[in-house]
């Protein structure tokens, strides 16, 4: 039996969401696509390099502010602002990461958190540039008038058009990320995750690779942040707050950090759960906490890890390794 190219199927189906004609569905799909990219960028650290970052929202926020400032304050076009957001995320990650990779384990995590809180504080206080506590509302949409020229898209609302743009850009970014984790560089990262001491003694400069991974993760987080700011019709200090870092961490673990697509599934699951449950109860954090506890004990490989394991077992395969299988599609 030939393998079904699930990735393509999912993207193809996602592409047709605007044709459902529901503003709400398009809204959720945009949200999921952006957060999926954000979570996948974190997993380069968490699942592939074995680095736990508690401050990944910093680079998301930096990306969001960079593109918002360029597009709103400076009036520059989106096609300049989007790459610039990735670049800014990557550069800040390079600078902060330089210090972070000097520490290990919990100290590393705490330092990433500290830098993220600094970013948040700057966004919160630097009124002239970031709008301070009020943030920057009314970030303009990219000009998407050209889409009207494409047959079939002429009747679409701007939200639908932005969704199609977002989906395309996220698909490109994710494809790049996928390529990176399958590269020799990506393989070295898994060695560091598995055993940094041994990695060092086959000639790997562990810190340098960790820093490279940290910067690359920052680039993709910045790209996601840029899209999120536009989608959200404004950027706010909350984007860089520690709760945002926790949220993306939860998505990644929920979906399963041992699998490339795990964090994307986690992003979708958490977003949809959030919407569903908040419609019925105000105790969303309570429900979320319960789900997490259940998950950590019952499904340590996350949603995807557990599913993959189960599928393998049903097919009669003998080997299940708890989803610690970050290298395979």
């Amino acid at each position: 039996m030939k393998r079904i190219p699930w990735t393509l199927v999912v993207f193809a189906v996602a592409f047709f969401v605007p044709w459902l004609g529901s503003r709400f569905y398009t809204f959720i799909a945009t949200d999921v696509a952006i957060l999926a990219l954000f979570a996948l960028s974190l997993n380069l650290l968490l699942g592939y390099t074995g680095l736990v970052s508690f401050g990944h929202a910093a680079y998301f926020g930096i990306g969001a502010y960079t593109s918002a400032i360029m597009m709103k304050t400076l009036g520059l076009p989106f096609w300049l602002a989007w790459p610039a957001a990735g670049l800014a995320g990557g550069l800040f990650a390079l600078v902060f990461g330089f210090f972070c990779v000097r520490l290990t384990k919990i100290y590393f995590a705490m330092l990433t958190l500290a830098f993220a809180q600094i970013v948040w504080a700057v966004c919160f206080k630097w009124n002239d540039v970031t709008g301070g506590e009020q943030g920057m509302p009314n970030v303009p949409y990219p000009s998407l008038g050209w889409m009207a020229a494409i047959p079939g898209l002429d009747g679409f609302r701007v939200g639908d058009r932005f969704y199609l743009l977002t989906l395309t850009l996220v698909a490109i970014a994710v494809a790049a990320l996928r390529r990176i984790v399958a590269s020799p560089f990506g393989r070295i990262l898994t060695l560091i995750r598995e055993n940094p001491e041994r990695a060092e003694f086959i000639g790997i400069d562990v810190r340098r690779y960790q820093l490279a991974a940290f910067s690359i993760a920052g680039i993709f987080a910045g790209l996601a942040g840029s899209l999120f700011g536009i989608f959200n019709r404004g950027v706010f200090p909350d984007f860089a707050y520690w709760t945002k870092s926790a949220e993306v961490l939860i998505m990644t673990i929920l979906g399963g950090m041992g699998h490339f697509w795990g964090p994307a599934v986690g992003a979708a699951a958490l977003t949809i759960l959030n919407l569903q449950i908040t419609a019925y109860t105000e105790y969303w954090p309570l429900i979320l906490g319960s789900i997490l506890i259940l998950l950590l004990f019952a499904f340590p490989g996350g949603l995807v890890g557990t599913t993959v394991d189960l599928a393998r077992r049903l097919r009669g395969g003998t080997r299940g390794n708890g989803g610690r299988d970050a290298r395979r599609p």
């Binding site: 020799p184 560089f185 393989r187 070295i188 055993n195 001491e197 041994r198 000639g203």
Partner: protein
């Protein structure tokens, strides 16, 4: 090849390695023996840069490599294995060895190529040499202790070292596995012209393959010589071999 001069390490006042001096000639096979806690592993960690010495120097081919970063020392051609098996447990056996080749050839900077296509032939050849060909697709961490030791040897050999430091290469192995491993070590050392420095508990192994033996006792190198000299050394007999 490797010169160790007055190497010293103290941990909070306790002298783990005290003024150890020795040299390794190219293509020589040297064993370091000594009771538990004699400082064997510490000595290895000092040579390979895992812990900084409190004093003394290490030279490799005349260059001072004292306290250099482990990855730099490895890149100079010094390979090592660890006493406690130290592999990449979540990868397959094939991937462990392949990744070691990728690292050794400095291909890790490539973020756009395909890792799985690299060094397949080299990896297969080395796995065959180690007798691990049939286990190539097994997850390394799930294999027996003896197999993991072999994988570790493979990881060290993939970086094509000229000096190999093995910390208890047969620890925890069955008698059969020990014999196989020693046979393998001997032939690979000869084929590749390696300089070998190893620690070992098993005296049969030590006296079987070592050309020179150093005896470490309470951090001091109390004797260094041929197996016959060591066997005849009264002090070694008294404190270590116990009239063996």
């Amino acid at each position: 090849m490797l010169d160790v001069r007055d190497l010293k390490k103290s941990f909070a006042g306790f002298l783990a390695v005290a003024d150890v001096t020795f040299s390794l000639l190219p293509r020589s096979v040297t064993a370091i023996i000594g009771p538990n806690g004699a400082g064997k592993s510490t000595l290895f960690n000092l040579i390979t840069g895992h812990i900084p010495p409190s004093g003394g120097q290490v030279f490799h081919k005349g260059t001072d490599i004292t306290a250099a970063a482990p990855h730099r020392i490895c890149r100079r051609g010094i390979g090592r294995s660890f006493q406690h098996t130290n592999i990449f447990p979540g990868l397959t056996v094939f991937e462990c060895i392949q990744a070691a080749f990728i690292a050794h050839h400095g291909r890790g900077r490539n973020i756009w190529g395909r890792a799985e296509r690299l060094y397949r032939a080299e990896t297969d050849a080395l796995l065959g040499r180690l007798g691990l060909a049939d286990k190539a697709d097994a997850v390394a961490g799930a294999l027996s202790h003896g197999n993991q030791k072999q994988i570790e040897l493979g990881i060290a050999l993939a970086s094509d070292p000229d000096i190999l430091l093995l910390d208890e290469p047969t620890a925890g192995m069955s008698a059969v596995e020990t014999r196989e491993t020693i046979g393998l070590l001997r032939s690979i050392t000869e084929e590749r012209g390696l300089t070998l420095l190893f620690t070992e508990h098993d005296m049969e192994v030590v006296f079987g393959i070592a050309e020179r033996i150093g005896v470490l006792h309470q951090g001091r190198l109390i004797a260094l010589g041929t197996p016959d000299q060591i066997r005849a050394d009264p002090e070694v007999r008294r404190i270590y071999l116990g009239g063996h």
